[in-house]
């Protein structure tokens, strides 16, 4: 499994919109905390943005400068990318310090990529408005690009604090035989149906098992006619529905509390990724939002257990007290914004601060709220 080791990002250099994320070191499990507008959501957007560019799923940005390091087994992939006015001005991939792909905007210098079968560099010329790392994919000559592509397509991004598809349903006349999980995470009913067809009952049972661990014991999960919308609709509308263990009737996604629905939606997406073995990095914005302390603790524990057992990288953001108190400080990175510069404080770059805090007897939330990360005792 490839994991993201670090990222540095900058956009609109020397312009009023200039924004810079200083070196962010990732670990296998990460909880990113910070005040509102510190850059938590943006960090995830920057990361998923790179994944979308590398998987050809995104239009070219107007301005971006990435410096990303990945770890694949013993190999270190160092990928750099500069985009200006929608065109690539610099792109380079080094594996263990050996250049495998090099591209500049200087017409006097040839863009080259290493070809494995030829055992030599070959010149190339790709359109400036696309990444060579994507456009030059060739599993025979450039298998190293496949590793980046695989990471990119299996990086998943979910907004836990959003409605998360609670207000998205499925009409009966939609293609119910579709086994392709839609890219849009809001299409939860379609995603659940498609994955159920592919992975069978085990898939549903795993979701129910996980849901119970979060304090939601349910005996069934199904797609059912959504009765909460009204019967005057021209077509039948279907939604997710659960049979709660202590209730005689089922609870539709419309009837669920926002916290309960979000937890269910995340579990469905998470298990789709695990069952299809297409999850390398899981990005979850505002994890735990809307959950009580017990369930916040439970969802953090479940995600960490899954990430460790299924070997995917976990990057979560929060400014929620419950989540902070239930997540080991070892996983923390605190984002600090100074004007348009965002820096990170974590155990790697500030070990003394983290070590000393352990003995204060204070809660993790105090570490954040009282800004104890910014000073030593």
């Amino acid at each position: 499994m490839m994991i993201l080791k670090s990222i540095t990002y900058e956009e609109y250099n020397n312009q009023p919109e200039h924004w810079k994320l200083e070196l962010f070191d990732f670990r296998p499990i990460n909880l990113v905390v910070g005040q509102n507008s510190a850059g938590k959501t943006r960090l995830l957007n920057v990361t998923i943005g790179l994944a979308k560019l590398l998987s050809g799923k995104s239009k070219m940005f107007r301005s971006a400068q990435y410096d990303a390091v990945f770890q694949m087994g013993a190999d270190e992939y160092h990928y750099q990318l500069s985009i200006n006015e929608g065109n690539v001005t610099f792109e380079e991939l080094k594996i263990n310090s050996i250049v495998k792909l090099s591209r500049t905007s200087n017409p006097k210098i040839h863009d080259v990529i290493f070809a494995e079968q030829l055992n030599d560099n070959m010149q190339f010329n790709t359109p400036p408005n696309g990444l060579a790392a994507f456009l030059k994919r060739d599993s025979i000559q450039h298998p190293f690009l496949e590793q980046l592509f695989d990471w990119a397509v299996s990086t998943k991004h979910y907004l836990f604090g959003s409605p998360f598809g609670k207000d998205h349903f499925m009409a009966l006349n939609e293609d119910n035989d579709n086994q392709l999980v839609p890219d849009d995470p809001n299409l939860i009913v379609q995603a659940f149906l498609a994955a159920s067809k592919t992975h069978g009952d085990d898939f549903k049972q795993q979701i129910l098992e996980d849901f119970e661990k979060l304090g939601y014991p349910c005996t069934d999960l199904m797609v059912d006619r959504e009765r909460g919308i009204g019967s005057n609709q021209p077509i039948n509308i279907y939604s997710l529905s659960v049979k709660e263990a202590d209730l005689s009737s089922s609870t539709s996604q419309l009837q669920m509390s926002q916290g309960m629905y979000r937890a269910l939606a995340l579990l469905i997406h998470l298990n789709i990724g695990i069952f299809s073995k297409k999850i390398s990095t899981l990005l979850v914005d505002d994890i735990g939002e809307g959950l009580d302390y017990q369930r916040s603790s439970a969802i953090i524990k479940l995600l960490i257990d899954k990430a460790e057992n299924e070997r995917f990288q976990l990057i979560m953001t929060t400014n929620d007290r419950f989540v902070m108190n239930s997540t080991d400080l070892d996983y923390w990175s605190v984002l600090v914004r100074n004007k348009n510069f965002v820096s990170v404080v974590n155990e790697k770059n500030s070990p003394d601060i983290f070590e000393e805090f352990k003995y204060t007897g204070l809660s993790n939330f105090d570490f954040f709220q009282k800004k104890l990360f910014s000073t030593s005792y």
Binding site: N325, K358, Y359, T360, G361, L362, S363, F365, D366, Y377
Partner: protein, 228 residues
């Protein structure tokens, strides 16, 4: 009559049940009113005015989290002062801090704690409060006849009479191991905690064991000074 008020902040259900029983057994229940409260109640349960006939009012506050004792004390301090409390005691385990860092923990717990307005002292149980339970050698046979000191010693390597429980890294799992010898469990469930707390000899815990267990000694001395 002026009611003397004490708030004790503990990190979980086990400590709450134990401390309440310890105070009741040792101080008696005649002139004392004990109230339980937890982090969710947010001190709304304090009704000290209704107990003016008592000499002492003790609020035992369950922080419901390992690392929240000091935080909750600092959060609730002002409110307790306003309600006429004169003393706050905190009790938390050393675990998961390593034993070699106990002095750092003690210093850290004392740092940033205001000294004016109300007396605050945070005590530690080394390494867990269950150390005090496993050292109380007379309680085992009240749980099960087979649990003699020799039987426990030969099966677990820990002799409740001669070994020191504060040297144990994880007293709670050891207590579970001991009970497991006779098919019982100690997983901090309510009924299991009650079973142990009901079996403990509080005279032993208050009078004799403190000489062997410095962390227990510090805690009971503080209780003693409040109630005398």
């Amino acid at each position: 009559m002026t009611v003397k008020k004490l708030a004790i902040f503990v990190e979980g259900q086990t400590e709450l049940i134990f401390v309440e029983r310890l105070i009741t057994e040792v101080i008696g229940c005649k002139n004392i009113h004990i109230e339980r409260c937890n982090a969710r109640d947010n001190l709304t349960k304090i009704k000290t005015k209704e107990h003016n006939e008592c000499t002492y009012y003790v609020l035992i506050y369950d922080c419901q989290n390992d690392e929240r004792v000091k935080t909750e004390i600092l959060d609730k301090r002002d409110s307790l002062i306003k309600n006429g409390f004169s003393s706050i005691i905190g009790l938390r385990d050393v675990h998961p801090i390593e034993p070699e860092n106990i002095m750092k923990l003690k210093r850290g717990l004392a740092t940033g704690v205001p000294t004016k307005g109300i007396s605050i002292a945070i005590f530690i149980a080394k390494m867990e409060v269950e150390a005090w339970f496993i050292q109380e050698a007379t309680h085992y046979q009240k749980i099960n006849d087979q649990l003699t000191n020799q039987f426990i010693s030969s099966n677990t390597g820990f002799n409740p009479l001669t070994d020191n429980a504060e040297d144990q890294l994880r007293p709670a799992p050891l207590l579970h191991e001991i009970y497991s010898l006779v098919g019982l469990a100690y997983k901090k469930k309510l009924n299991q905690t009650n079973r142990t707390v009901n079996a403990l000899d509080y005279e032993e815990l208050y009078i004799n064991l403190p000489t062997k267990l410095p962390s227990l000694k510090a805690f009971v001395e503080r209780l003693d000074s409040f109630f005398t």
